[in-house]
Every structure is written in C-alpha cells, then in structure tokens.
C-alpha cells in the first residue's frame, strides 16, 4: 500500500501557519535530543525505529488518532518502514517525511520582508531546520544575496523566477555553523563576492574586500548596502544597513540572543569587541532599523508570517544580551554560558575558506544538527 509522503515544504507551511501535526521521530535518542522539527502546534514523540522492528503496538498508545501523523527519520528509509507498519496497525492518516531530516535541514522558505523605498524588495530565506537566515535584496532587475547557504540553486532559481540578475554576493563573516554558498553563487552568476578581509586572511580564492564604510549599490536606482564594521562574533564581522531601513546583523545580534565570540578564536579576546559593537556602535543607529539576523535559535523568534525580524529599538528594550549594564557581568554571561560548538565547525570554516572541498554528502554530514551560534 502506498504511504503518503509529505515534503519539507509542506512541513514548513505547517510550522509557519501554526497548523497541528503529530510527528513520530524514529531516529535514535541522541540525534533526537540534538535537534528536531519544532512548531507551536507540532507535537513530537521519539521512538527509535530499531525498537519498533518487532511491532508498533507499544508506540501506538502514544499516537493520537485525531490528527495527521508524520513519521520522520534521518534520511527516509526507516520512516517509510515504520509508517507502513503503523498503517497496517490501523493508523490511516499517516505519512512520512520525504528525504527525512536531511531534506528538512536543507529546506529554505522564502519570505518577503518588505519593499524598498525606491522600488524593489528584500526577501528572507528561512532555513527552519537549521535556524539559518539568508537574504536577497532585489531592485530594478538586480539582486544581492547575503549569507547564503550551500543550497545555491534556491537563490539562483528564485532570482530567475522574479526576473533578477544576481550581481553581488556578500557574507557578513566567515561562517562556522553552515557552509556558505556565496562563492559558488558568485561563480555561477558572475557576481562579485564580498567578504570582510579580517575574516578572510586564510581564504584560497579571490574576493572583494568588504570594509566598514563600503557602499555596494544594486540597480540603477541605487539601493545602497552600507557596510558597518561590527566585530565580536568574528574579528571581521560586518553588518549591513540596506536602504537606510534594514540592519542585517549577521551573527552579532539575534532576536532573543546575541552572538558568541568563541568560534574562530578565544571568547576572552573578542568579548570586548562584541560589547563595543552591541553597546556602542549599534546604539548609534536608528531605533527604527529593522534587525534581520542570520540566525534564529527558537521557533518563538518567528513572526506570524514566518519571518524573523524586529525593530532595533524593540531589541534594545527586550533582548537580555543588550541589557547588561555591568561590563564584568556581560563578560561572564558571554564567556560562561557558551553552548556546545556546532557540529564540525572547524571543517565548516575550512570549507568556507576554500581549504578543503568536501563532496555534497560530506557537506550534509558536517551541517547535521542544530545551530549554535548564539548565547542567551
């Protein structure tokens, strides 16, 4: 009997629309503990497939019969098997996640953030499974991509679809949590690839140095991306102010947390930079700027339309990391609260420098797991 499959796109829609869904996650406990599909009305129950091979009777008592049930595993195979067993045991509204958590980790959901003053729009690409956010600024047939993921086709196809040519690709910093698609997009589209030079001292390829004060102009109508040097997550971390309205904060400032300073050096060395950026440089900016970070940590950070964005003024009032008056307390909060480092973060950095070139399967493995770029 054919079991229904559900795509990552459908799951993303349910997360964003806050629809109900019951997920039976059949990966092993440690993977489940590490990361899972989350949503306001999504209930998840973990029972490894290898405990169900002799029968699903025991797990049936945990599965509601009044809701759709989605079986999820790492790649797909085990979820098909278990979904079939559940179906045979009498559960009819059961499907499996196409491509498993691998597909979920790679899914990007484009969300329009808003229009630009002189025409054009800015889009956010929400990677729900990993918490990564990337951006496309479009105006007058030209587009800039910022902090792209390695799923480069998504951006290229999206630009095609809206009739724009990608002319600039920018990374706010050298990423340690995900593999950047920046260089590849730039190569495929003949765009200029911009990187902060202080993060790029070891890269093996040509790039355009992006420094504070630089202005990248897109389209004839001059939508400006102003670079603002904002070290702290990395030594080169640079923020962008787009069209005087949006602050792309990279991994420096998130909605409910702040950047961590230890992924490319020592926390003690960079915590001062982080403090300086968050408590001085950012304070000089307009409260009206809409902060668009490169990550979210928890699903509550999503707005109702699925976007992750909030006014800088609101963050100054609400984000705990921006409200620690005492310098010492800030230091101990930042350096004493560090979560585990992201999976394979050293290899990811080396990949982003061009030092190693893992194949697709290896890249996928390297990115497995949750994003851990912030401290709360």
């Amino acid at each position: 009997m054919p079991i229904n499959q559900m795509t990552a796109t459908e799951v993303a829609n349910r997360v964003i629309n806050k629809n109900e869904l019951f997920i039976l996650d059949v990966r092993n406990q440690s993977e489940f503990k590490d990361w899972k599909i989350e949503g306001e009305n999504i209930e998840v129950f973990n029972s490894p497939y290898f405990d169900l091979l002799d029968g699903v009777e025991e797990v049936m008592v945990h599965i509601p019969t009044d809701r759709e049930v989605l079986v999820v595993c790492a790649k797909e195979g085990s979820s098909v098997l278990i979904a079939e067993m559940l179906y045979e045991a009498g559960l009819t509204a059961v499907s499996y996640l196409k491509g498993g958590m691998k597909a979920w980790s790679e899914h990007l959901e484009p969300v329009k953030i808003g229009d630009l003053d002189k025409g054009g729009s800015i889009y956010q690409f929400v990677r729900l499974g990993k918490g990564c956010l990337s951006y496309m600024v479009v105006t007058n047939g030209e587009a800039a991509v910022i902090d792209s993921t390695r799923m480069t086709d998504v951006y290229i196809d999206f630009a095609d679809h809206i009739g724009a040519q990608i002319t600039h690709v920018l990374d706010t910093h050298l990423h340690a949590d995900h593999i950047s698609g920046g260089r590849q997009i730039a190569e495929k589209t003949n765009a200029t690839y911009w990187l902060p030079p202080k993060d790029a001292t070891e890269v093996t390829f040509e790039y355009q140095p992006l420094e504070g004060g630089n202005v990248v102009t897109i389209g004839n109508t001059a939508i400006d991306i102003q670079a603002l040097y904002s070290p702290g997550h990395t030594i080169g971390s640079t923020s962008f102010v787009v069209d005087h309205k949006y602050l792309l904060s990279g991994d420096i400032l998130f909605i409910d947390s702040i950047g961590r300073p230890d992924l490319a050096g020592l926390a003690e060395d960079w915590v001062g930079d982080l403090r300086e950026t968050l408590y001085r440089r950012y304070r000089e900016l307009s409260d009206e700027l809409i902060v668009l970070p490169s990550h979210f940590m928890i699903i509550e950070e999503l707005n109702n339309d699925g976007s992750v964005a909030k006014k800088l003024g609101t963050l100054f009032a609400e984000n705990h990391g921006l409200n620690i008056a005492d310098d010492k307390e800030f230091r101990s909060m930042v350096t004493g609260n560090l979560p585990p480092q992201p999976n394979a973060y050293q290899e990811i950095r080396e990949t982003n420098m061009g030092k190693i070139t893992p194949d697709n399967e290896q890249q996928r493995e390297m990115e497995i797991g949750p994003n851990r770029c912030a401290v709360r």
Binding site: S30, E31, P48, F50, L53, A74, G77, E365
Partner: protein, 188 residues
C-alpha cells in the same frame, strides 16, 4: 584485524537495513560471541550504539577503513546476573593503585579479543576465556595474576580455572573494565 565470530556485509545498504540485518544475524549467534558489521551508511554508528544499549548487546566500537565502517558488537550473555564464586578479589580502585607501584604485575584480560582491542589496561595481556585452557603455558605458576573481564563474571571463571591448574596468586578484579577509570589503551 579484529577477531570476530561472524562478519555481516551491510555495505551499500541504507537505514534501516544495517540494523535489520544485524538483528537477524545476531539472533542466530551464541551469547557472548562477537559480530563484525561492515556498513557504508554513516548514520549506522550512532544507531548501532543506541540499538545495542536498548537491547543489551555490547557495542565494542567502530573502525573506519576508507569508506567502510566496521562495527563490533558482542551478543548479550546475561553474565551480569551471575554471582562470583572465586574468593580472592581486588577492586578496580585497589588494582589501579597497585599497578602504579608495581609496573610488572600481570593483568590478564579474559574478554574477547575484540573487546580487548578497543579498550584495555595498558599492561594487560589478552587471553580470552575460551582460549585459556590451551594457553595456560603462557603464564607462570608463581606470578601474581590479576584477572579482569567486563563485569567480573568471566574473570571469576578464569580465576577458578587458574587456581585449579596450580596457579598460586590469582585475584579476580571487580567489577572490571565496565567501570575502569584508570589509564586505557586501544590497539585499533
């Protein structure tokens, strides 16, 4: 090369098949025997570990050889349930202290060669319980011998065997490698 009782080829198979096949194969094996599973699915390592834990089999370790992962499992033997009979015993802690002072003491590890390969006391010699009778000649009757296994049960049998074969200073180490906190080596 790690010694095992059976080898299962699960290369090229995606999850759940490596576990499905392992489960089937191990069902046909004797308690305490070691199975080598060759797989190419990267996720199989974590699953083997977790599955072993949930079923009571013992996950020994994994060796990566090129693209092939070799997992080693030892079928559960129920040895945790038996009481030890041999009376001359020494605790892990006491043995560790003793070894720090007496570098030449003989530690005899009677677990399977595969268990020994992944984790053993640096100075320990490996003679699996099943080979002990035929290899008694490798040991000296007058030496002080500390016999160790995973939980103290196989070493209990080995200590009895040694004593009745005329060895004079034999001690069983309790509880054994399962809770050993001292230095370890691996030969993998």
């Amino acid at each position: 090369m790690i010694k095992s009782n059976s080898v299962l080829d699960a290369t090229g198979l995606a999850c759940p098949m490596p576990i499905v096949k392992t489960k089937k194969t191990i069902n046909g094996m004797e308690p305490g025997q070691v199975l080598e599973i060759q797989a190419t699915d990267k996720g199989s390592t974590a699953d083997m570990k977790a599955w072993s834990e949930s079923t009571g089999h013992q996950y020994l370790g994994t060796i990566e050889e090129g693209k092939i992962l070799k997992h080693y499992l030892r079928k559960s033997s129920g040895e945790e349930l038996t009481e030890t009979k041999y009376e001359s015993i020494i605790s892990n802690h006491e043995l560790q202290a003793h070894l720090e002072q007496n570098k030449n003491s003989i530690v005899l590890d009677v677990r399977e060669a595969a268990e020994y390969a992944f984790n053993h006391i640096p100075s320990a010699r490996s003679i699996p319980l099943g080979e002990l009778d035929e290899r008694l000649g490798e040991l000296d009757h007058d030496d002080e011998i500390f016999v160790i296994c995973r939980t103290g049960s196989r070493s209990d049998l080995a200590a009895q065997k040694l004593t009745s074969a005329g060895f004079k200073q034999v001690k069983n180490v309790l509880p054994g490698m399962s809770e050993w906190n001292g230095p370890v080596d691996s030969t993998t």
